[in-house]
């Protein structure tokens, strides 16, 4: 173990040592271990090879509105990982939606198509009636995220290759999080039309076509015609990881969040004469999306002192034994926040937590994942949720400034 000492105290290099950069490449595990667990003789603090404390995130910056030809965009950098997100809004006419004219007869509540929303004018104010939001956004696919890992973002990403499993999996995670957090309100995406009340002329016109029945007469005279949805905005959310140095999800999600906060939709209305949707090109008419909350994602990786613990011919201790052991002695693992590319190569067990904070400062967990190992359990997760809460404050400051 002469080499780790050498990296810790480079002023007196022993004759047969490697420079730290080479040691890092040849023995990555031992190199990181030497930093996190310095020999007790040298009064070095336990620190990661990249100079961060275990629970420290990399320097994060966000910049919104950087792309001009989108409805909203953002660039987020977390250390050397950089993600660009552009949001493009396109109109989808309800007549082009095959399932729009379909209503499920009562009884099957599995997929409720709410074709006659206009019949319930109260739903507009009712913010908590999220079921309709869900139905519209999810069933009609109004949010379409697509993540690509661009050529050269890291070695191994070659031009012309099919979207990698990683890219597809990240796309799904973003979509799934957009759905489960209900970040975007369906009402922001609806284009309504209020048919004018034509008064007494209408029954006459009707008479020309077909004989009036009682029902229609009643509804026509009783109150004004219900509003109807003529179109939806579909948001194409394209994310590009332009540089990948570990932890792509946090960067991608932050970019999506910043871009959606930046997104402005033009004012759009139904033109009766031309039977089409018309958009205003005045910037003043455009309005921002009113997002629900600010879910922030924090990812962690577990670095184990014994790299081979998983397959070595040792008995894997039972949980109870492990707890007894964990209390005494030096830690055998470190939970590293926001792992960089180098650290990710040495990590098997990961955790990812997405939290949001309410106005009173209470932390709500929106997603919590852990996989790939057996060392992280309740106590660690509780700490990670706390760290994620602090990260939320930091990210809110960064996103509010951009």
């Amino acid at each position: 173990m002469a080499t780790p000492a050498a990296t810790a105290a480079p002023s007196v290099p022993p004759s047969l040592s490697l420079p730290p950069s080479q040691f890092a490449r040849l023995q990555p595990h031992a190199y990181l271990l030497a930093h996190l667990c310095p020999p007790s003789a040298s009064n070095q603090p336990s620190i990661r090879a990249n100079g961060r404390a275990p629970s420290q995130f990399r320097v994060t910056s966000a910049n919104a509105g950087s792309l001009t030809h989108t409805n909203g965009s953002a660039v987020v950098r977390i250390g050397d990982t950089a993600a660009v997100c552009g949001v493009r809004a396109e109109l989808l006419h309800t007549e082009d939606i095959a399932s729009w004219s379909v209503s499920q007869a009562s009884g099957s509540n599995k997929r409720r198509r709410l074709a006659d929303l206009g019949g319930k004018p109260s739903e507009e104010e009712d913010d908590e009636d999220t079921e309709e939001d869900r139905a519209h956004i999810e069933d009609l696919n109004l949010l379409v995220p697509n993540l690509s890992l661009s050529t050269g973002c890291a070695p191994g990403f070659i031009p012309g290759a099919a979207p990698s499993a990683l890219a597809q999996s990240l796309s799904h995670q973003i979509l799934s999080l957009l759905h489960s957090t209900r970040l975007v309100r369906a009402d922001d995406l609806r284009v309504w039309y209020q048919p004018p009340n034509l008064g007494p002329e209408e029954p006459e016109r009707h008479n020309e076509d077909e004989p009036m029945d009682m029902d229609a007469e009643q509804s026509a005279t009783a109150e004004e015609k219900p509003r109807e949805i003529k179109a939806f905005w579909v948001l194409y959310i394209d994310i590009m990881i332009i540089s990948l140095a570990g932890n792509p999800f946090d960067a991608a999600w932050a970019a999506v969040l910043a871009a959606l906060r930046d997104t402005k939709l033009p004012k759009a209305w139904w033109d009766v004469d031309n039977e089409t949707i018309v958009c205003s090109d005045s910037v003043a008419d455009a309005r921002k999306l009113s997002l629900r909350g600010l879910p922030v994602s924090s990812s962690f990786g577990v670095f184990e002192a014994d790299a081979a613990a998983g397959w070595r011919a040792h008995v894997i201790p039972d949980v109870t034994e492990q707890e007894q052991k964990g209390k005494k002695g030096s830690p055998e693992r470190w939970i590293l926040a926001d792992p960089d590319g180098y650290e990710e190569g040495l990590i098997q067990e990961r955790a990812s937590i997405v939290v949001d904070k309410e106005k009173d400062g209470k932390t709500t967990i929106v997603r919590m994942e852990k996989n790939g190992g057996w060392t992280v359990d309740t106590e660690d997760l509780r700490q990670l949720v706390e760290i994620s809460g602090r990260r939320w404050d930091e990210m809110k400051r960064i996103l509010d400034q951009c």
């Binding site: 939606i97 095959a98 004219s101 379909v102 209503s103 007869a105 009884g107």
Partner: protein, 294 residues
Amino acid sequence: MSKEASLSVAEREFILEALRQDSRLDGRRADQFRPLNISFGEEYGHVKLELGKTRIIVRISSEVTKPRDDRPFDGLFNINLELSAMGSPAWENGRTNELEAYVTHVLDSVIRRSNALDTESLCILKGVSCWSIRADVHIIDYDGNITDAACIAIMTGLQHFRRPDAVVRDGQVVVYGVEERVPVALNITHKPLSITFNTFNEGHNVILDSTRKEEQASEGELVIGINNGGDVCFMSKFSGAPIDAMEVVTQSKVALDKVKEINAQIEKVMQTDLAKRAKKGMAEESRATNDREI
């Protein structure tokens, strides 16, 4: 290594020699199919088929979509086949291979393009909405002749499937849940099946329903798609050794007999299953009324 491991010399020679003596490894006659076993899952159109050791699962599903712009009166029908490592270790997941393309082509020709499923009957509202019917074929154990087996399974599934009832009211399409209105059977115009012949020993031996090892030892293949009425809707002499033209004619007769026999079997298992369902449905209904009375 997307190919099956090749046969050993001993196996190839033995299979050929046995055929010369009119024997097959499993004791079948040349024109005999392996035991065919068809059963159904809980849902309509969920078929589990066993043909000897070849096993297939077919699932039929439906959804409402927009018809194609150039065919506003037609619904959609697609057959989807993807070979996975489950059926054979020789097949790699996520990669297409020649066999997959070939079998898909035969199934498409025999069933879809012969219009066995009347796609016009799938139209709900012209140019606006129609049914899209999808057949997913899972080959879960491959021991030869997946073409014929898949054909039988898909045709059984199409006949067994029931889609929800839908009506047009005031320009609105109303889809009824299964519990509200009796679901509707698909409109099947005819019942074609494919029959695959394999030839051996310079065309002296022609057998039906080859196992995987017999397929590997075979010199040529002839596929005939034919329905109960004797209308040939597909014929392929894709590769391998040439076949005498007259042989094709005589084998068409063999194919016709086979198709009639198999279609009769399909009909029988299907009626049994549907009767069972009807009985179960009635029992449930009466239980429901009893509950109400109490």
